[in-house]
């Protein structure tokens, strides 16, 4: 962490110089403020962003107790179509600092066999924690985010498999395939997590996250209306994936879908992780990409919003909630740095 922050300090001094050097930053459209009207940003210093600066804002006061959001704005030295493509095909698991253990694409109609990549989960304490939690899963009172019927699966699988890792791979392959099938089929509204005090419906969480910001929702109405978040549609996502990442020392497994839409001179992207097995209920990552000219070269202005629903946030109050937003900004920035580094590779 220290080296990262020393780097940030160094980067700031570079940015100060960049502000002087980069005079040739011109949006390819008439009014940047108009484009950014739905965001938390206005009158932005594009010169500073061209030098690498990431502008960030906490989501502020939102009307959803389990939700927390942040917005970011930055420039990538690649064209919007290149960034659009990278959003679909980059592998965050290649960046160890992100603690993403696996991230793999799925076919349009995945079956349990399509999750065989889970066998390649690394042997570390985080993954071991998930494997042990799966082996000890109590179907009557699941400690992981499952429906009652999903939790019952473990009973039959235990009788077939003694190896803990094989059991976890079998079990989660079926759970993830089921969740993906329900979501893509427009039937995710019935999916839930059994938790103490009641059930959580991930789809309802996603809707609540979208409701936290009317401007952003309006901006993404056309795209979201093509997703199963609105049950009437069953559009094919641009990418369907499953992943595993660390949450407080234990691996979580999830599956999500990315939808994209060209909207005027910009490209919109919505990454909806509609199922996560622990730690986080759901998350959404929105991006909008505009072309921008930097020193005569077409690059991409990226607006990004991260929206997360988690039980822990519900019990954050006052300053604690402020601090959580501030720390989330730092982590989102780490993800952005990793993503931008993809464009520096030969």
């Amino acid at each position: 962490m220290k080296s990262f922050n020393f780097f940030s300090l160094f980067q700031k001094s570079i940015l100060a110089m960049a502000g002087i050097v980069f005079f040739g930053v011109i949006p390819l459209h008439a009014d940047l403020n108009s484009d950014l009207a739905f965001t938390a940003f206005s009158n932005v210093d594009v010169n500073a962003m061209a030098g690498g600066k990431v502008l960030q804002e906490r989501g502020g006061l939102i009307d959803f107790m389990r939700g927390i959001t942040t917005q970011s704005l930055y420039i990538i030295n690649a064209s919007p179509t290149q960034v659009q493509d990278k959003l679909l095909h980059w592998n965050p698991a290649a960046h160890s600092e992100l603690q993403v253990w696996i991230h793999k694409s799925l076919p349009a109609k995945p079956t349990a066999a399509d999750f065989s990549g889970l066998q390649g989960l690394p042997n570390n304490s985080s993954v071991a924690s998930l494997i042990n939690a799966t082996a000890k899963l109590d179907p009557a009172n699941p400690s992981l985010q499952l429906s009652k019927s999903e939790a019952q699966l473990i009973t039959s699988l235990r009788s077939q498999t003694k190896d803990k890792k094989a059991l976890a791979v079998d079990f989660w392959s079926q759970v993830l395939a089921g969740r993906a099938s329900h979501f893509l089929g427009g039937n995710a509204s019935a999916d839930n997590y059994v938790v103490s005090g009641g059930d959580i419906q991930p789809l309802s969480e996603i809707k609540s996250l979208f409701h936290t910001n009317a401007k952003v929702y309006q901006q993404y109405q056309a795209l979201l209306s093509q997703t199963p978040v609105e049950a009437s549609t069953k559009a094919t996502p641009a990418d369907l994936y499953y992943d595993s990442f660390d949450v407080e020392g234990s691996a979580a497994l999830g599956t999500g879908a990315v939808y994209q839409l060209v909207n005027g001179n910009s490209i919109q992207s919505a990454d909806i992780e509609y199922y996560v097995c622990s730690g986080v209920y759901t998350s959404v990552e929105l991006e909008q990409l505009w072309p921008i000219t930097v020193n005569g070269k077409v690059e991409t202005l990226v607006w990004r919003e991260d929206l997360v629903s988690t039980s822990n946030v519900a019990y954050l109050h006052g300053t604690e909630r402020l601090a959580s937003g501030m720390i989330m900004l730092q982590d989102v920035k780490q993800g952005i740095d990793a993503f931008r580094s993809e464009f520096k590779k030969p």
């Binding site: 309802s204 999830g254 730690g279 946030v313 019990y315 720390i327 982590d331």
Partner: protein, 324 residues
Amino acid sequence: MKSSFAPVLLAAAFCALMANGLQASDDGKDSLAPSVTPSPKIPISQEFTLESSYTGKSITKQGSAEIGGVDNINSHFNYVISPQIRDGVLLRFGVDSERNSFGLPPNAALPNTLQSINAIIGADVTPSDKILIRAELHPGIFSDFVNVTGNDFDMPVQIGGTYLWSKDFQIIVGMQIDLKSSYPIIAVPGFRWQIDNKWVLSAIPPKPQLQYQLNNSLTLYTGAEVLGGTYRVNNGFGSNHGHITPAANNLNGQIVDFTEIRIGAGFTWKFTPNMSLDISGGYMPYREFDFHEDHIGFDHHDTIFHNNIGDGAPYAAIGLSGSF
């Protein structure tokens, strides 16, 4: 482009949250019509702390003269209501009351009670995305609560700043301004280091701790604690305790800085998402009553009652805290 969602949870850990329980609710948002998004209300958070402890008898001296054993029952209550008036700005209003009730040997020139009851008026602000600042005024009565007068009024000021170096490491600086104390301005640094998923070094005065999270609801710790405060004794205190001559030792209406240092171990049990029970015990190696005149600035400590290191006593403490 998903990376990791740990930050929110790590934030929770950083903030010593009341988290981990779940509360399911249907937000009633089956439609995605954008027009239905309500304007956020002003969020109001509340927090309270209720603590009590007993420290056993420790042999206390004035200079080198032994006056006998002194014990202490400390009670503390704190309640704060905190409306978030806009993003990044929270006001803080509340009340704080603390009482030290001493068991004294006969004829000891010490107050049997040092007590405070004060309001809390303050704010939390975030001047940048990495800095949190809390400033609080604590106007109230700080005295032995015998013949309380306007002279017993005091208004300590506390200012704390946190720099979020990273999600695992934060730097803290705290400052107290109390013009009646013999140290009118005290500033202390600290830090919090999340060593790994289980261990946290919270080197933050006045309660530095090394913490180990046994599970989501139970945290074990070992560390130190400094209890203390600045109080005014009544105008007849010296006369009633034979301390009016010489003039330098006249304790009538004097200020006493009280300090009790503890080292020990304990646990915090988060028994609901919003409530925690804290139980600890250990040893109190040093306690001091430092009398000085009621004026601004450092004094030369005319009369100090204290115990020698090694003549301390065991203590036990219990606390209940919550936030809503």
